[in-house]
Symmetry: C2
Subunit: 721 residues, 2 copies
């Protein structure tokens, strides 16, 4: 290749000058860095409790060995966080490793998910069956229980899936909110059925992400006193020292957001300080707690500690040997001294005893409070009540046509009374998204038993909090709402719902240019397609009241794993701002098949098939009537959900989209990308492949050519092709 | 429809109890709300300066009338923010309405974009030709210069496109960073060519969004002393009083993030206080400034002020009349007293004089510092230097195969010396994204003349800041980088780049399951398709070194409007973690056509066409060779960019994808959604339509069936179909 001549370039006067300035800049940075570095805890020191030290180093070396064997991973965080993790898990975490799903267990979230070996080491040392020593040796390998980042659906004992920074801390807010809700809703003076803590470990990266600020603000507002976050302050990020991009006062920021804040200055050795801080955090019941714990990343590694080299790469043989030396660790690869196991065994015993005691409370509660218990059981087991859907209404063409966002509110209010786990709200758009459950009040600091959540304008945290709620108990059906366009603010949590099998319902209103005057910044165009391509996410766009009921029916079923795959699936429910008529041929049952015939079913061999979704379904029907007036035989297919249709038998699919009929047109106010699949080579797709504009909705449909006439014309072309 | 029996439901004991709790909850909320409401400034009061009062009320009534006429929009914010806007625009903003693009103008960003009538009213009163009284009457209508939310590409005087909350304040950070950079890079002791302020108005919604926390943290870290944000503290959000979801101490949070913070308690009347605060903010040169201005939303409306009813709906005739009464406004609809115009005329004159004075500095600078001026001119006019691309290297199969992320770094370093506007960096992944320009240092508080930006782990703000930089001066080519998967954290700013014609380069590495061990939380699957469907966004995935050079060439050209549409287009450049060989048949020129033949061009009538992109291109070539060994004639097409290919002539497209050849296979390590378009009814697509897993990359390709054998088998099926 042609060699680059950077030297020549740098030699130009202007650049030479810059180079000098750069050197000065670097120097001044270095000075600041050192200034901060002096605040770092000592790289060596003594832990008096020798068994504690053994247990802490066991975490470190299991992590080092796992990463080395995989030749991939992040040893730095586990080595630095081993002391705080030891104290937390040995003296505070109340879990029963032999019953990992015990409803009242404490929850632990490793928000800094890249340090996954820390989580796996802890689960192994605690005696979880899910992580044997052999599993640790399979870290990051195909089929392993120990993947690169913690995945709740693979490894018992892992509560949520983390890795994308900031998601975990927001999930933890959801877990703590779920606990506060269930405790307030079900506990009795004589029976404390729900009473556990949520602990999280987060890093600098989590605190730089905006989602953590959103989640922290809500946690402070809600006063989640049983949420305790340990902030691993190691001052190192991938680009180097945090001085280069992160110099805010994190503790002061959390205080401003209503948190109780403490700082443990020597997180490498001060076990008593860690114990005292966590105890004080538990004692603070009105505010969530942040404990800033200053540590050294890669503690024990003589040449890599406190550098970003230890963040995301194996230590390697030589440095591992040097680390064994420095930490006086005579044990072999993956070898754990029995004293280390014994330390955590005490905690496991404590947890098992607590579980046993709770079972008695549980039995007494079940006997004494059968009505409340029925709801509690549904939420904690995921069994839907027999009558959960009985209030879903049916519509005929006689019923007033409405926007599907209004039908959506009807469905939420029809489901809420019989669906104990339904809880949710909007990102400050409740009056537009129509998401209030009218028979309930607001979930607030002084009314956590209520079921309407007020997320504020925090879409990103909203999605992640709903994931936390969903993964707290299998019977929760959390929903959250915003304008469809703002799914762009919460796309990662929506993906995490799909990946981690969290059955969240995403209520997305104002679903097209049909919203009109707000203009292109608010008009989704590519969004329907963008969720149809997301694995394990159901994307639904109903065309009237019955289809809205059907979409909710399917969404709730899938949130409870009632589908061919037998896993929880989230749904993106897409609703219109504008109204549309109710049809006589739509139904809940048919909607759940994903696509079906709503018009012209009598034609065994129609001349063409028109496919519509949502607010454009009526357009397809009107086009059909126009074509029929010209003597054509036309079938109209409503396709509220591609994914559900794809799961039907080939026979059914062929009975809806007759293979021999090549005259096909799709009409949908979104990008046409992907519709080739359904309309075929000779088919046409009416849609919008550019940004919208600010004007009244009906006019926009005309201007962008999404009209009955356009569908008719396209049908003629397709039939002639 | 079946009536809902909420009453019956509510009558159940458990729910009755809840209802009571809810009432208590509401009451306690109300109490808190009132407690805060007392802190609100008076709803009535006197402004001694009568001309000022006229100008302020002119803003209010133009906004009221515009929203009423459109019967759509948000009058509340303009009515509350009129006083601060008047003070800012009359006494501080230095702009020349007759030269809206003057390079050294102050920038104004209405981050709370829904209050757009405020922005339009100000532009009109200041005398911008872009907003005549007739334009105000066309608010929110088709073809209007006054769309629902401010759009920079439609209305001269509007700097950035806002509406999605929080974007604007992050854009403002980008604008201020651009000013700091240009000033440090070009100013001379005897010639201050760059010296302006960036002002923004933000609301509660902006402050609830995480992106604003990310942007504020960076602005504080960078010490952007010429960024001044007015926070409209009106305590009302769409769901009601901010008490229900937003109770953090915003001022304390900004202080923690390194800002200079002030509070003007009566933003409705205290013009002197507003003047003093903005003056003090200008005097503070080392830190960005937040001025919390307490106002009444909908000030002057006797029945709707201080309620969310006035936020997003027209006042209507009756309430407008009552407001005219309360504010003693005798003028008719869209009628502006000459005294009001006169107030702003003073500011326009001041700006014109400043512009004139600057032109002299400009001329002197041009004469005295020709070398620096050449770079300055390129950045401020958008004219690329003649030699901008001359250092882009060429590769042959002799050159070592590399990951395209490494080629990407080569291109950035080849372009940087000759592309004055190239500036950018990564969200704390520089060593993985390979985005450092080696001849430059870090843009930091004490070295803003440098061109490597350290965004920290703040993807959302990063994108919006780059939009601000791009829209500051037409010759900036900002780039920003992260793992492709984390585009999910910045999807809205990426869309805003496309919508607002900001030519940002998004450098997205680790583009498939090929990244391996990090697992499904880090493996993009649906992402390529998700950007191909985004209007005005180019999505590029090169297959070797030459194609990487070609993609950068096309991306820079498009960032400078060099395309058939003649508008700036951003690019999403997608690069691999893993290596791939260089090919002799690839080239910059061919890459810029979007798709072309890299193998088997000699066959006029091949038996089949294999289409590959990125790291799978070599797989297509290997499959072709295997098929050829079995006597088949095979063409391989590389398709690095769908959008560019779609813009080629039908003749060219048919010459690449021969219409008569129906045996076609696409291979790409992403969802197959959309590929039907290129492979047709008889074609096959090899890809991955589920989430990946944690394991070594090569093994994942096998496990998910993305292999040479799979391509060969699919080709045989397709040819037989």
């Amino acid at each position: 290749m042609v060699a680059l001549t950077l030297q020549t370039v740098a030699a130009r006067p202007a650049l030479a000058q810059r180079k000098q300035q750069r050197v000065q800049a670097r120097r001044s940075l270095l000075v600041r860095a050192q200034a901060t570095a002096t605040a770092a805890p000592p790289a060596k020191g003594e832990i008096k409790d020798k068994n504690a030290e053994l247990a802490i180093n066991a975490i470190r070396f299991l992590s080092i060995d796992g990463v080395n064997k995989a030749n991939s991973g992040h040893p730095g965080l586990p080595m630095g966080c081993a002391p705080m993790s030891y104290v937390l898990w040995k003296d505070f975490m109340t879990v029963d490793p032999k019953a990992p799903k015990w409803a009242n267990r404490d929850r632990f979230v490793l928000s800094a998910g890249h340090g996954s070996m820390l989580n796996y080491s802890l689960l192994h040392l605690m005696g979880y069956n899910s992580v044997q020593i052999e599993d640790l040796k399979q870290f990051r390998q195909w089929g392993s229980k120990c993947p690169g980042h913690p995945e709740n659906f693979l490894t018992e004992g892992v509560e949520v899936t983390t890795g994308p920074l900031g998601q975990g801390i927001a999930n933890a807010v959801g877990l703590a909110a779920a606990e506060a809700h269930l405790a307030a809703r079900f506990n009795k003076p004589d029976a404390k059925l729900v009473d556990h803590y949520t602990y999280a470990i987060m890093g600098d990266g989590c605190n730089m992400e905006g989602i953590s600020a959103e989640a922290a603000s809500l946690a402070g507002h809600w006063g989640l006193g049983k949420l305790i976050c340990l902030y691993d302050d190691n001052r190192i990020s991938i680009d180097g020292h945090t001085e280069i991009s992160f110099t805010e006062d994190v503790c002061a920021r959390y205080e401003a957001q209503g948190w109780h804040v403490q700082h443990v200055k020597d997180g490498n050795h001060d076990l008593e300080g860690l114990r005292a801080a966590i105890a004080a955090a538990k004692a603070e019941t009105g505010r969530p707690s942040l404990i800033k714990v200053s540590t050294l990343i890669g503690y024990g590694s003589p040449n890599k500690a406190d550098t970003h080299d230890v963040h995301g790469a194996p230590l390697g043989a030589a440095e591992t040997a040097a680390t064994r030396e420095q930490l006086n660790w005579p044990y072999g690869e993956f070898e754990v001294p029995k004293e280390a196991y014994a330390e955590f065994a005490k905690s496991a015993e404590r947890g098992a005893a607590a579980h046993k005691a709770w079972e008695e409370v549980h039995a007494a509660y079940k006997a004494k409070y059968p009505e409340e218990y029925a709801e509690y059981e549904s939420i904690t087991t995921g069994k839907l009540p027999a009558n959960w859907a009985e209030k879903l209404p049916k519509f005929t063409s006689e019923d007033k046509g409405l926007a599907t966002r209004l039908h959506s509110q009807t469905m939420l209010n029809a489901l809420a009374p019989n669906l104990p786990g339904l809880i949710g709200g909007s990102a400050d758009l409740a009056p537009s998204n129509m998401t209030l459950m009218k028979m309930f009040g607001d979930f607030q600091k002084d009314s956590p038993e209520e079921r309407n959540l007020r997320f504020g304008v925090r879409e990103h945290a909203m999605g992640a909090i709903c994931n936390g709620i969903a993964l707290h108990s299998p019977g929760f059906v959390p929903y959250c709402a915003t304008f469809f366009i703002f799914s762009d603010y919460m796309r990662n949590p929506m993906r995490m719902s799909a990946l981690s099998e969290a059955g969240v319902l995403y209520v997305m209103t104002h679903d097209s240019i049909g919203l009109g005057e707000d203009g292109p910044t608010h008009q989704p165009v590519e969004h329907l397609a963008s969720f149809r391509i997301m694995p394990n996410m159901l994307t639904m766009r109903p065309g009237d009241g019955n289809e809205t009921a059907g979409c909710y029916y399917a969404a709730v079923q899938n949130s409870m794993s009632q589908n061919p795959k037998g896993i929880k699936r989230p749904s993106t429910l897409v609703f219109s701002r504008q109204g549309m008529p109710n049809m006589d041929t739509t139904s809940i049952e048919a909607t759940m098949k994903g696509a079906y015939t709503v018009h012209g079913a009598e034609h065994a061999k129609p001349d063409c098939i028109l496919i519509g979704t949502g607010s454009e379904l009526v357009m397809a029907v009107d086009a059909a009537k126009k074509l029929e007036s010209e003597g054509k035989k036309v079938r109209v297919v409503s396709m509220p959900c591609w994914e559900l249709f794809e799961e039907q038998s080939q026979e059914y699919k062929d009975s809806v989209l007759l293979p021999e009929v090549t005259g096909r047109v799709s009409v949908e106010a979104g990008v046409t990308f992907g519709w080739e699949k359904w309309v075929g080579q000779k088919g046409k797709s009416i849609g919008i492949n550019e940004f919208g504009a600010s004007a009244p909705g009906p006019l926009l449909y005309e201007k962008y050519g999404i009209t009955v006439d356009a569908v008719v014309e396209a049908a003629k072309q397709s039939m002639a092709a």
